[in-house]
Amino acid sequence: MKPLPFSLRAALRLLLTAGALGLGLPQTAPADPASRTVTDMNGKVVSIPYSVNRVGSTGAVNQMVLMLGTPWKLTVVSPANRDNRWMRRVYPGIAEAAAPFSGSDVNMEELIKSKPDAIFLIDNSGTHSSFKSLPKLQESGIPVIQVHLRTPEEMKQAVRLVGETLGPQERQNAERFCQEYDAILARIRAKIAPLPCGERLKVYRAGGINGLTSEGGNTITTSWIEEAGGINVVAAAGIQALGASITMEDVLQWNPDVIITMGVAAKEAVLARPEWKSVNAVRNGRVYVSPVGVYQWSVRSAETALQNLWAAKVIHPELFPDLDMNAEVRHFYQIYYGCELSEAEANEILNPPK
């Protein structure tokens, strides 16, 4: 067999490595110049138009699209995204986007009408309720790119994948974000890594109307709690589920030192109820509401990069005396969304109202 020419072999190797990493690259010698392929995080090779101008998703991925320099490419969202105050602040044009997604379903006609070039779906491999309309979507011929968002690594990979799908410039911005994400983690780890096990605080992430919904191991929640020098008590108890219903008796037994709630309602429930009074975190006034910007920081969007920083300061304030979260928020929004926030606005993100 004749050996392949060097350049082709190199290109092939590059493609294979990149594919294995889930990065993918535009095909060097496309059979059809109008299209290219990307490899999604399920390892599936997806053919997409050469130039992608109209994309969208059910939720968190939309934040990533807005972040990569070409927010106008976000044309398909969910109603909750469209009405989201901060999404409108960083990109007012979102008000004109189509909103066919709701929960795990999609209005197919509305979606097709909006002519998307590609759709991103979040699939956390069985731990997250899978998208109900996936077969319907795939039949429609609209390219579907699936991402997982469970760890910082997956988060970065997803941002790169979104960037790559959108185009070269966005790919570059994605790379920049990933470097900054790593820099944030490195900053925290420098302070957190020397902490002995005994000083890692027990952290409980409270959600839902009664504060009894939480997230277990192998979720982004566990990841930022651990990065920030805490232990996710739910994960430590062996619970894996996303959106797990926790029993109050377990919470009392775990006796967390810090409670971080998703939403103000959960914090109010925790502070109002007598059964929470004996929990360490409540006794010591260490109940905090997770920040909410363009997306909930505590869950699966790229703003979770900031959550690591915020949580580290909240859990171990003594280690981060100089960390100015307000400035960090404004910096992030300026760089990634091109949006100058006032100090008051950044403060509102850090202390979300009801």
């Binding site: 059910t58 939720g59 968190a60 969910s78 109603p79 909750a80 009405d83 989201n84 709701s102 929960g103 959600g207 839902g208 109307i209 009664n210 009894l212 919904t213 108890a237 062996g238 619970i239 589920a241 959106g243 797990a244 219903s245 926790i246 029993t247 109050m248 008796e249 377990d250 009392l252 037994q253 006796n255 998703m262 939403g263 103000v264 309602a265 109010e268 429930a269 109002a272 109820r273 007598p274 059964e275 009074k277 004996s278 929990v279 997306y295 909930q296 869950v299 699966r300 009801k354």
Partner: protein
């Protein structure tokens, strides 16, 4: 007494002879389970510690045990145990009453739209971030509103026709569907990370959010609903014969019917507004009670109340103790309820009137 009459009555009397025994056994079981439930839970408390905690509470002398333990017993287990008993009883009594009123064994406590109304009220309150109390108040009001709507529409539909109750049941289904659509709309616009899971969670039903204060508040409408039904329970026997027979016996049926509907609705609305949707209890417990003591409401109603409380207490104990992740109680009642209902269908109409 003539022998023929006696032989006619003999088979009918049988369940009623049992009734005293059934009542006794149920009360004994209920008391035993009530006490035992305090000892069950995910937080390890030994019997000795439990007694010390209770003793400390009664005497006021500190027990020396961790504060968390006292909190588990009095702030978590106690409200939940009472909630399970009360809600189970309320839903069963409401279900029995509706079944008698409409002379239809397939109706349950939420037949007039109370549950869907409550569900929508809760979903709207969650969307508006009204907090736990807001959710309860809103779902209670919407629950009542849904039933009022059913009654209004039902009265228009029934105006010239004969009052059969059937049109009211059908209207109830329509109103339920309407409010279910409102729930769907709320879910459609809800933020998928925070609000949507909260709505779904509420709709699945559960007692984990019920605190002592909520229970005290819910007790008021429950008592207002329960006491009149209990006092008028013998009239339900007459009503279940049908309106004509009841009128022949000198009962003002339509007013009595409305009054009993209002009482049952209060019971249902107060229950679902604090527990979320707990299906099947109001349908199967009345049937179970009827199998035990027969169709006579003077005994059927108390037995339904006891049995309903017992049933929900058992199910809730499973929900809160069995797994590290709490199982929504609505799912458990459906898993138990659906096969049981099939059994009833197979068994046919035996045990009904």
């Amino acid at each position: 007494m003539q022998p023929t009459e006696e032989s006619l009555q003999a088979p009918k009397k049988l369940p009623e002879e049992n009734s005293a025994l059934v009542l006794f056994v149920l009360i004994a079981l209920l008391l035993a389970l009530f006490a035992a439930s305090f000892a069950w839970g995910r937080y390890p408390i030994s019997l000795g510690q439990l007694f010390r905690v209770i003793e400390a509470k009664i005497t006021g002398v500190p027990s020396g045990l961790p504060a968390a333990m006292e909190s588990v017993v009095f702030n978590i287990r106690m409200p939940r145990i009472f909630a399970a008993l009360l809600i189970g009883s309320a839903l069963s009594v409401a279900g029995s009453t509706y079944q008698g009123l409409f002379r239809n064994p397939m109706v349950s406590s939420d037949i007039l739209g109370a549950s869907s109304g409550a569900g929508f009220g809760a979903a709207a309150a969650i969307l508006l971030s009204l907090g736990l109390t807001g959710i309860q108040v809103s779902s209670f009001i919407c629950s009542l509103a849904a039933v009022v709507l059913t009654l209004l529409v039902g009265s228009i539909v029934e105006r010239d026709g004969r009052s059969s109750g059937l049109s009211l049941v059908l209207t109830g289904m329509v109103v339920s569907t309407l409010f279910s659509s409102f729930i769907a709309i709320s879910k459609y616009v809800a933020d998928p990370e925070e609000k949507l899971p909260a709505i779904t969670f509420w709709l699945m039903g559960g007692l984990s959010s019920v605190g002592a204060r909520d229970l005290r508040i819910a007790l008021i409408p429950m008592a207002i609903g329960f006491v009149p039904i209990l006092l008028l329970r013998w009239k339900l026997n007459v009503l279940s014969f049908g309106d004509e027979e009841a009128r022949a016996l000198g009962l003002e049926t339509s007013r009595l019917r409305i009054f009993l509907i209002v009482c049952s609705t209060l019971l249902t609305a107060a229950s679902v507004s604090i527990s979320g949707m707990i299906g099947w209890v109001g349908l199967i417990v009345p049937h179970l009670a009827r199998m035990l003591v027969g169709p006579n409401y003077s005994i059927l109603l108390p037995v339904s109340a006891l049995l309903g409380g017992l049933f929900l207490l058992i199910v809730d104990n499973v929900a809160r103790c069995a797994f590290a992740v709490e199982v929504p109680i609505g799912i458990l009642t459906s898993i138990i309820g659906a096969p049981f209902f099939v059994y009833l269908l197979v068994k046919g109409k035996k045990g009904w009137t």
